[in-house]
């Protein structure tokens, strides 16, 4: 392979788009701003596709250094980009799904204020996300890591006139900062132990020392996990993601479902050489993943805001990916990351289409009967619901089943994790079909708004006014929005065939593609019988169908039943509806004490008392001294002359007696 791949083009073209739209977008005609944003995303996508075709003839990892960044003493870090199998897949997902969502946004945001600003932020996000996946060292990855956090903050708070959106943005930023702190500590430890932050050098050193087990590697891994839980919304730092739904729906699809939140999974897979040496860190990841998956799925079952259901579903699915990483099945995690990007991106875009059709309504209790009115949205959403529920042959089935299989055969703890994952799969199927039934089937409950309007809206989280849409009537979205939906529906339906396990007669292309980098899964080499794989798959399909069936009974056959259940199991229902009061607990345990300490101790005592006090004291001293000394400068010439004469006389006396002292 000769010649450069010009990897730098991939992140920098969106950055150029950001600069154009961000600096002069306000003055540009709308069509021009649209063209800039789309081209700035299309070029990287085409470039990535071109590289994909060259990929078999490349020697990986291919590293492209753009120059030295930091060089101090023995430590140096480059602006270095690298391409290997993992990066290749991430690039395809990010640019491909990203481009589709850009197209969708053209329709979705068409009537919004600050159209140019939205696209500028989206392009900025693409720049940082591509930097993150392309970087060859931890430091550059951290730049991307922080940058996507910034873009996420800007986009969550896009409707900055709305208080809740601004607060959600701040919350996301602050919670992410806690995770970033973990990432920083991990980097400090890496520098202290390895003297470098380059991926290849760190991993080479680890590989050369098979005797390094646990110890400081565990510490590094656990700090990296803290970083990953922040970005990927895992327990204990997941609380920002549901609130992040305040952002426009395309943002939820791109950043908070398909790409940014998977950065933590990507990071764990990227640094798996460190994790492989630390069973403790791996178990932590697996337990965090399984716990988050189950926990978020239970909360998702009772939410009424369509986007919040999807948000908890995202948290839950990310938990699956963590679970896969935790049982060292990194390629399964990446496989699920890909299919999840397809079906969850699609779910959000379809939900956006529903919201668009209803003119901003997000409360599922007032939806219903939309199947006939928005058929294309309905069919694409159906594909996504089947995919996420794990019904074969849709994409989610293969990837989720792969994760559960890997968890099961890892033995010991893995059996428990498998069971949790299985139950979660049932819950997932239940809440997704609940959403599906509530939104699309039955009769429209929109007329109930008039009766219970005030009550419903007092409780609902949706911020937009319902009245506006009834003037327009329910309408299917424009083609510019439907096209990405259809393309993603195709991907969500067929994406699973990328990785059909050999037990089901497939070739597991993803697994083999990633094998040189990530290994073939710690346990796959064990030669487990395909019978086990098939029976496990059968069990999970059965569980998924059970969830479907339960949703059918509750929300189709006997629509009065959910209300009865909710009253009978009031305590449990309240627990789930209030998301286990985690926000309140965090508020009471962490936020309030922190605020009190800041307000009274730091602001009142330290800032006002010590720091301001020191300043005031210094000022007062200088003023007092000046008040005394200024009397000397009277403006009276004769007093000046007197001082002059006095000084001269003193000099004379000193010099005279000074001389005589020597004699």
């Amino acid at each position: 392979m000769t010649g450069s791949l010009n990897l730098w083009l991939i992140p920098l073209v969106p950055f150029a788009g950001f600069l154009v739209n961000g600096l002069i977008g306000r003055k540009l005609p709308k069509a021009f701003a649209t063209a800039v944003a789309l081209i700035a995303t299309l070029i990287p996508f085409l470039h990535v596709v071109k590289i994909w075709f060259q990929f078999p003839s490349l020697t990986v990892p291919y590293v492209e250094s753009l120059g030295t960044w930091i060089w101090t003493g023995n430590f140096h870090a480059d602006f270095a980009l690298q391409l290997d199998q993992l990066t290749m897949i991430m690039l395809l997902v990010v640019t491909g799904v990203g481009f589709l969502i850009h197209i969708y946004s053209v329709g979705y945001m068409a009537h919004e204020e600050g159209y140019w600003r939205f696209f500028a932020y989206l392009n900025l996000f693409m720049f940082f996300m591509l930097t993150l996946v392309l970087s060859e060292n931890f430091l550059l990855m951290f730049v991307g890591w922080e940058g996507v956090g910034l873009a996420s903050y800007l986009l969550i708070g896009f409707y900055f006139l709305r208080d809740s959106a601004v607060n959600a943005g701040k919350k996301a930023f602050v919670v992410n900062r806690i995770g970033d702190f973990g990432f920083l500590l991990a980097m400090f430890l890496l520098v202290a132990h390895f003297g470098t932050l380059s991926f290849s050098e760190v991993f080479a050193q680890v590989s050369q020392h098979p005797e390094w087990q646990g110890g400081f590697l565990t510490a590094i891994a656990l700090f990296l996990v803290l970083g990953a839980t922040g970005k990927s919304a895992q327990i204990p730092l997941y609380t920002w993601l549901p609130d992040a739904m305040e952002g426009p729906t395309p943002v939820s699809a791109l950043i908070h479902a398909a790409t940014m939140v998977t950065a933590g999974v990507y990071m764990v897979a990227r640094t798996h050489i460190i994790f492989d040496r630390s069973p403790l860190a791996l178990s932590t990841v697996a337990i965090i993943g399984a716990a988050t998956a189950f926990f978020a799925a239970t909360v998702g079952m009772v939410q009424t805001d369509i986007k919040r259901v999807l948000a908890y579903s995202t948290v839950s699915q990310l938990g699956y990916m963590f679970l896969a990483c935790g049982v060292a099945a990194y390629s399964s995690a990446i496989f699920h990351l890909i299919t999840h990007a397809f079906f969850k991106g699609l779910l959000f875009l379809a939900a956006g289409s529903v919201i668009h059709a209803l003119g901003g309504e997000q409360d599922m209790r007032v939806m219903g009967g939309l199947r006939k009115k928005i058929p294309i949205t309905f069919w694409t959403m159906t594909a996504a619901v089947f995919a996420i529920s794990g019904i074969p042959p849709f994409a989610g089935f293969f990837s989720k089943d792969e994760i559960l299989y890997q968890a099961f055969i890892s033995g010991g703890l893995g059996r428990i994790l498998w069971f949790v994952g299985l139950v979660t799969a049932g819950l997932t199927s239940f809440y997704m079909f609940r959403l599906w039934y509530l939104t699309f089937t039955g009769e429209s409950r929109a007329n109930e708004i008039e009766e219970h309007g005030a009550a419903v809206h007092a409780r609902s989280d949706s911020k937009l006014v319902v009245e506006a849409e009834h003037a327009h009537g329910v309408h299917e979205s424009p083609w510019v929005m439907l096209l990405p939906l259809i393309l993603l529906a195709i991907l969500a339906t067929t994406g699973g065939f990328l990785g059909v396990p050999s037990a089901m007669g497939g070739h597991d292309e993803i697994g083999h593609f990633l094998e040189p980098l990530l290994g073939s899964g710690a346990h796959a080499a064990g030669g487990e019988s395909s019978g086990l794989a098939l029976s496990l798959a059968a069990v999970s399909v059965l569980v998924a169908l059970t969830g479907l069936f339960a949703a059918h009974i509750l929300y189709k056959a006997k629509p009065e039943l959910p209300h009865k259940l909710a009253t009978q199991l009031r305590a449990l229902y309240a627990l789930l509806l209030n998301k286990y009061w985690v926000d309140q607990i965090y508020g009471a345990l962490i936020v309030t004490p922190l605020l009190l300490v800041s307000r009274y101790l730091l602001k009142g005592l330290i800032d006002r008392g010590v720091i301001d006090g020191a300043g005031f004291a210094a000022g007062a001293t200088a003023q007092g001294f000046g008040a005394i000394v200024q009397r000397v400068q009277s403006g009276n010439i004769r007093s000046y002359a007197g001082w002059l004469a006095l000084g001269a006389a003193v000099l004379l006396i000193v010099s005279y007696f000074g001389f005589t002292a020597h004699f």
Partner: protein
């Protein structure tokens, strides 16, 4: 032949009178005249030393001092006239515009 020390004592007396007058007098013109007195006292000691050491440098210095004193007198008197026109007084104690 008058000894040099006589000239120096005379010079010191004249200089001291100048300093005293400078400090005591309130009329700005008198103050000005006392400056001239101090300058000429110094001139006297220059000339005396030049005579004692038979060197012409001291004499030349005196010419310089005279030139500077003439220029100073011109500028100083102009300033005094300007002050008198605006403030109607020549009392230095009342001319304290530069006070804080």
């Amino acid at each position: 032949m008058v000894p040099t020390s006589y000239y120096l004592v005379l010079s010191a007396i004249l200089f001291t009178i100048g300093v005293a007058a400078f400090l005591i007098k309130r009329n700005i013109i008198t103050v000005f005249m006392s400056i001239e007195l101090m300058l000429n006292a110094v001139n006297l000691s220059f000339v005396a030393f030049a005579h004692q050491w038979h060197q012409v440098n001291g004499q030349i210095f005196v010419f310089f001092v005279m030139v500077v004193a003439a220029a100073e007198a011109a500028v100083g008197l102009a300033i005094i006239i300007a002050i008198f026109r605006t403030r109607n007084t020549l009392n230095v104690d009342e001319i304290d515009l530069m006070k804080l």
